[in-house]
């Protein structure tokens, strides 16, 4: 690359104030500022410390089970009748989702910083169990914040977290009646404010700087593997990469290494009723500036809804708002119905049970693959397995499920 290209690379991440173009930043209360700065410094130091990176790589391999396969979905490809479809298998990671890449990284960072206690927030519970497990592994107490409704919907993840020794705190909105991911985010920031010596392990590419960057860094292993694997298998880059987006960690993880490869089309798929990038406006909440679904005067988020708890989020990571603003990534959404059909289709054609979250990506990938020639290549990130979702699937299918 020329110096000019390096300078213009989309991979350069945020500026020194944490901005991706107009987005991101560090809109944090003063109480957290010293922590965020300490974290930023430690992060920069850690990623330039070979022994730290070696340790991360070691556990990615031996604990998470990476690299996971880039699997050619031959049956699905045949069924759709267009581009060749490959599946990146983050569902095969330890604990069944991409979240562990990030939890592992941040827990190692907490260790590096000499922290002694971990806070985290969670939506579907995937980040909770990943953080609880890594916490157990590295001897940290973990306190997870989770919305009241999500605790109910994803009770098995709560159970797993407790088996790993974590404590789970129920979060509600101001009314005390309901609580989802955004309430967990607000609650955990409050808890961290009250206990600033602790480490806050943020679950997606959101929050005040440097969290979006840290999470992007940790998750970029996905895209690095995709690149290596597709070159091995096809000797060229894919034509499109598709991933779902809630906060945006699995998506940024998939695509970061391809941002400068302009020939690769990139797709981020939100849930219809939480599609901040398509239907939101720019706002500042929970520490960052990004597109969000908010009330007219910016006092509150709008209620969101999705079949998939993990992408039921009113906003998205700031880097995505930036990538939307410059047109590098195509952001779109799928409906619950489309996602649920895609979910069933992958089960039936490939014997792979995706989580509901990546089912939104599958739905979109099917649409685009259908229109592409058979010599084209589409990669879908299967960022989680669907074990957590089968009770809901059963309820939805009822008698159609068969004997």
């Amino acid at each position: 690359m020329t110096i000019e290209e390096i300078k213009n690379s989309l991979k350069n991440g945020p500026n020194d104030k944490g901005y991706y173009g107009d987005f991101g930043g560090r809109y944090a209360p003063e109480i957290l500022m010293p922590n965020l700065i300490e974290l930023e410094d430690a992060f920069e130091q850690a990623i330039n410390d070979k022994s730290f990176i070696d340790e991360f790589d070691y556990y990615l391999k031996d604990y998470v089970g990476r690299p996971n396969p880039l699997y050619f979905a031959e049956q699905l490809t045949k069924k759709i009748g267009g581009a060749k479809i490959y599946l990146k298998s983050d569902h095969l990671n330890h604990l069944g989702a991409h979240k562990i890449n990030n939890s592992l990284f941040q827990i190692l960072l907490a260790k590096y910083m000499g922290k002694t206690k971990i806070y985290c927030e969670t939506g579907a519970g995937a980040h909770l169990i990943a953080t609880a497990a890594c916490g157990a592994r590295f001897n940290f107490p973990v306190i997870g914040y989770m919305g009241k409704d999500d605790i109910f919907l994803q009770s098995t993840n709560v159970l797993k977290a407790k088996l790993f020794g974590a404590e789970v705190v129920e979060c509600v909105d101001g009314t005390g009646e309901k609580g989802v991911l955004k309430d967990a985010c607000t609650s955990v920031l409050k808890a961290w404010s009250s206990d600033p010596k602790a480490f806050y392990c943020c679950g997606s590419a959101i929050g005040p700087h440097p969290f979006p960057k840290i999470v992007q860094y940790a998750q970029s292993i996905i895209g690095k593997e995709i690149k290596k694997q597709i070159l091995e298998k096809e000797n060229r880059l894919p034509d499109a990469i598709v991933a779902c987006i809630g906060g945006g960690s699995n998506l940024i993880g998939c695509i970061h290494d391809f941002l400068d490869d302009k020939e690769v089309a990139l797709y981020g798929v939100e849930a219809e009723h939480s599609s901040a990038l398509t239907n939101g406006s720019i706002g500042i909440m929970q520490g960052f500036k990004s597109f969000m679904l908010q009330s007219n005067d910016g006092s509150a988020t709008l209620d969101t809804k999705s079949l998939a708890s993990g992408i039921n989020f009113y906003s998205c990571g700031p880097e995505h708002s930036y990538l939307k603003s410059i047109g590098r990534v195509n952001y779109t959404y799928a409906t619950d119905e489309e996602a649920f059909s895609a979910f069933q289709l992958l089960c039936k054609t490939e014997g792979i049970l995706p989580a509901f979250e990546p089912s939104f990506a599958i739905a979109q990938a099917i649409k685009i693959a259908k229109e592409m020639d058979s010599d084209k290549i589409v990669v879908i990130n299967i960022c989680g397995r669907g074990d957590k979702d089968i009770d809901t699937a059963e309820r939805m299918l009822g008698d159609k499920l068969g004997k």
Partner: protein, 276 residues
């Protein structure tokens, strides 16, 4: 146009000459409803409060504890919005020209409303703005500061137990109005402030600035006020303590002026405790 910066300076100067501390009250605009919240502000002004913080509610308030958070949500549910809060500020100013008025809340409302538009709109009405999530290195800090400066409105800086001396120096450098010393690590209305730590934090601040320093978070009861009357702060802020009282009384009382009177009585008592 009244010189607003002077109003806050004047307040502290007068208090100093009387060897008194500023009593700074805090209520949530729109709580328990729009009209009552205005009546409450008026009666707080009547009670002799020196400065009043009008909180514009936000549903995802990162620094607010359960008491204020509930008030936020209730007032949003009851239809308050940022425009209406500005209106409440205007009417408060019409009613009383002496009290210092501060609008306090989260950046997003101002950002959505438009920074310049906001500054112009509240010009001559309020004397200062506190923005919880606006550290010095985000773009809007400078933008808001400059827009407010044009209208003689101060952008108040907060110092917390985690703020290093080095950071304090940076923060106070271009601060205005007063410094808000946050007494406890965490959110409003939960932990109690410890006088020793409060004093030492204020001393740390005073090393680097001559601006008045007010002390907030963790001061709720008449007892607390008595204790903090002996602190080295130039004023104290009572937030959750007042909002909690409003919550209690509005459960059993719907008459606006009775609620307002009740709050006035409570503030009066606190003020007596503060400067006795």
């Amino acid at each position: 146009m009244i010189n607003l910066e002077n109003r806050i300076s004047k307040i502290f100067k007068n208090l100093k000459s009387e060897n008194k501390k500023a009593f700074i009250s805090f209520t949530t605009a729109g709580y328990p409803d729009e009209d009552t919240s205005l009546e409450i502000i008026k009666s707080v002004a009547d009670s002799g409060a020196n400065i009043h913080e009008i909180s514009f509610p936000h549903a995802e308030a990162q620094a607010d504890g359960p008491i204020i958070q509930l008030a936020n949500i209730e007032s949003i549910k009851n239809g308050i919005n940022f425009e209406k809060v500005i209106n409440i500020a205007k009417k408060s100013r019409e009613y009383n020209q002496d009290i210092g008025l501060v609008m306090m809340g989260y950046l997003n409302n101002i950002f959505i409303y438009g920074i310049d538009k906001f500054a112009k709109e509240v010009s001559g009405i309020i004397d200062a703005v506190i923005c919880v999530d606006l550290p010095e290195d985000v773009i809007e800090e400078r933008l808001l500061k400059e827009a407010l400066k044009k209208e003689n409105i101060a952008l108040i800086k907060l110092v917390t137990p985690t703020t290093s001396d080095e950071r304090i120096q940076k923060l106070v450098k271009d601060a205005d109005g007063f410094i808000y010393s946050v007494n406890v690590a965490g959110i409003t209305g939960v932990k109690s402030a410890q006088i020793d730590m409060v004093n030492s934090q204020i001393s740390r601040i005073k090393k680097y600035t001559d601006l008045p320093v007010v002390s907030g978070f963790g001061i709720k009861t008449e007892e607390d006020v008595k204790v903090f009357s002996k602190s080295n702060a130039d004023g104290i802020v009572i937030g959750s303590g007042i909002v909690e009282k409003i919550q209690e009384v509005s459960k059993i009382e719907t008459n606006k002026s009775k609620i307002a009177d009740f709050v006035k009585d409570f503030c009066s008592k606190l003020i007596i405790n503060l400067n006795s």
